[in-house]
């Protein structure tokens, strides 16, 4: 279980998160929804160790992670698909996947995991020798998810996987999320696309200006009048 307790974080004198607490149980899919600038990406960056927390603590399966650098957090079983995918544009698709398996524990199983990712996303195998930066947005998202899965994480963090993609591709990306859930992965997903994300997660938190405003089962939040009005345009 991933547990965040009273996490504060920010950049310089700007504070983005104020005492955020949340938890994700193994096997669950949890969403964090909220408007632009609410601190969703900051939250993900704190969990994956890219940004040190200024206050509070978080742990995974009882192990304290708060002060660990990013490369140690991946080793603890948390992989992060960053906002805007952040593939290595001039490396090929397969080289990007190789980077996802950089950890010694993953390197040993590189061949079998590569075969597994190619089975999951046949499109990536077709494009394996192509520089990742030359693919379409949807394919790049596939590659970014594949790269994160190469470390066989226990939790997959996904930051705005649908951002910047055409509507048709957004549907495909949410299908990908469903398939990853189907593979038994625990997922924590941050999205602005509230309607669709609530269809794929079990529970969700509403983050506004750095505070958790609401939390509950996805179906419940989808019926909440405030959320429907503010985030679903209904």
């Amino acid at each position: 279980m991933l547990t965040l307790t009273d996490i504060s974080a920010g950049y310089g004198s700007f504070q983005a998160l104020f005492g955020v607490s949340l938890e994700v149980k193994l096997g669950e899919a949890v969403g964090v929804i909220g408007p632009n600038g609410a601190g969703k990406t900051t939250l993900m960056r704190v969990i994956s160790g890219l940004l040190p927390a200024k206050g509070g603590a978080f742990s995974f399966e009882g192990r304290a992670l708060t002060t660990l650098p990013a490369h140690r957090i991946v080793a603890a079983g948390i992989a992060h698909v960053p906002e805007n995918r952040r593939l290595f544009p001039r490396l090929t698709v397969e080289e990007n996947l190789r980077m996802g398996a950089f950890l010694p524990s993953a390197r040993r199983h590189f061949a079998e995991r590569l075969a597994w990712i190619y089975e999951l996303f046949p499109r990536l195998e077709e494009r394996r020798r192509q520089p990742a930066g030359t693919m379409s947005g949807g394919e790049q998202q596939m590659c970014a998810i594949g790269r994160a899965l190469m470390s066989k994480p226990q939790i997959l963090l996904m930051d705005e996987p649908s951002a910047g993609l055409a509507p048709l591709i957004v549907d495909q990306v949410f299908d990908l999320v469903r398939r990853i859930r189907g593979e038994g992965f625990t997922v924590l997903i941050v999205e602005q696309n509230v309607q669709q994300v609530l269809e794929v997660v079990d529970r969700a938190y509403l983050l506004e200006s750095g505070h958790i405003k609401l939390s509950g089962a996805a179906a419940e939040l989808a019926r909440n009048d405030d959320i429907r009005r503010s985030y679903m345009g209904i």
Binding site: S48, G49, L50, P69, A70, H71, I73, V74, A75, A79, H80, P82, R86, F88, P89, R90, L91, E95, R98, M99, G100, A101, F102, L103, A106, R107, R147, A148, S151
Partner: protein
């Protein structure tokens, strides 16, 4: 074709090999760590002294001395990173230039203090190869072949291994390397060791052909930077190509005019090309 011109062209190609090796090392470090080691050729100088000292003073076999010199300069590379680069990694590029520039003067003075200003060489005379009417120095040919082997080994390492791929990846997106489980600091140290090792290899090859003295770095340093900028700073393939362009300019104009004029001409061509393509011939 004039037989002497052909000889000049061949010598130009052979010279290009070692220059390409130097450019590879400098470009690798710039591309990955994002810092220009102004004192790169001074590390080469220390490598040359290492080869000289081990063979001529301690009587080591040349090959063993070369291996030791490569490891020694690789260690120097790691020290340069730890002592000079790492503390100022986040500061302005101009400060980094000043720091590695300061290192250049420090190393030159240190060498003068330790070794004096004498010109020293290995005292080995390698044979001259005769191909019909063309004379080729065996030491240059050897230097060229080993430089190409070194460059190929680097290429294979960067393209085939996890670590090599990570080194290329850092140059494309520094920030997210941690998400791949990569310790960026470790990558910087390894890259600095490889950059130093390449300088050490170049030192061995240059020691076959030249005398070492505390200011030998001035002979190769500026021209290596020129090659790197011409090829697009950080672009390893560009630097490789530019090394052969510059060495040909030097060799051919050296044949038609004079060796002194050839360096002047090389810099003129450099200035003109950089005015036309400031991003380098293969830069983006």
């Amino acid at each position: 074709m004039d037989i002497y011109l052909l000889e000049a062209v061949i010598n130009g190609v052979l010279l290009g090999g070692v220059l390409a090796l130097l450019a590879l090392g400098l470009n690798l470090i710039f591309g990955v760590v994002d810092v220009v080691w102004i004192a790169y050729a001074e590390l080469v100088m220390f490598g040359m002294y290492a080869v000289y000292w081990l063979t001529n003073v301690y009587g080591w076999p040349v090959l063993l001395a070369c291996v030791a010199a490569i490891l020694f300069v690789a260690l120097l590379g790691v020290l340069v990173h730890l002592l000079i680069i790492e503390p100022i990694l986040g500061s302005a590029p101009i400060n980094q230039l000043l720091a590695t520039g300061g290192l250049l003067f420090f190393l030159q003075s240190l060498a003068t203090l330790l070794f004096g200003t004498d010109f020293r060489n290995l005292g080995i005379r390698l044979p001259i190869i005769e191909l019909g009417d063309i004379f080729i120095s065996f030491s240059r040919l050897l230097a060229f072949i080993v430089a190409l082997l070194g460059a190929s080994a680097l290429y294979l390492f960067l393209s085939r291994t996890f670590l090599g791929t990570a080194i290329r990846a850092v140059a494309q997106d520094r920030e997210i390397m941690g998400l791949m489980g990569v310790d960026q600091r470790r990558i910087y140290l390894i890259t600095s060791a490889i950059g130093g090792g390449l300088a050490g290899l170049a030192a061995c090859l240059l020691m076959l052909q030249y005398d070492v003295h505390p200011f030998i770095g001035l002979t190769f340093g500026p021209i290596t930077f020129m090659i790197c900028v011409l090829g697009g700073l950080g672009n390893m393939i560009g630097g490789f190509v530019a090394a052969f362009i510059i060495s040909q300019i030097i060799a051919i104009s050296g044949y038609y005019v004079s060796i002194e004029a050839s360096y002047v001409l090389a810099f003129v061509v450099f200035i003109v090309l950089v005015l036309i393509r400031p991003q380098g011939i293969l830069g983006k």
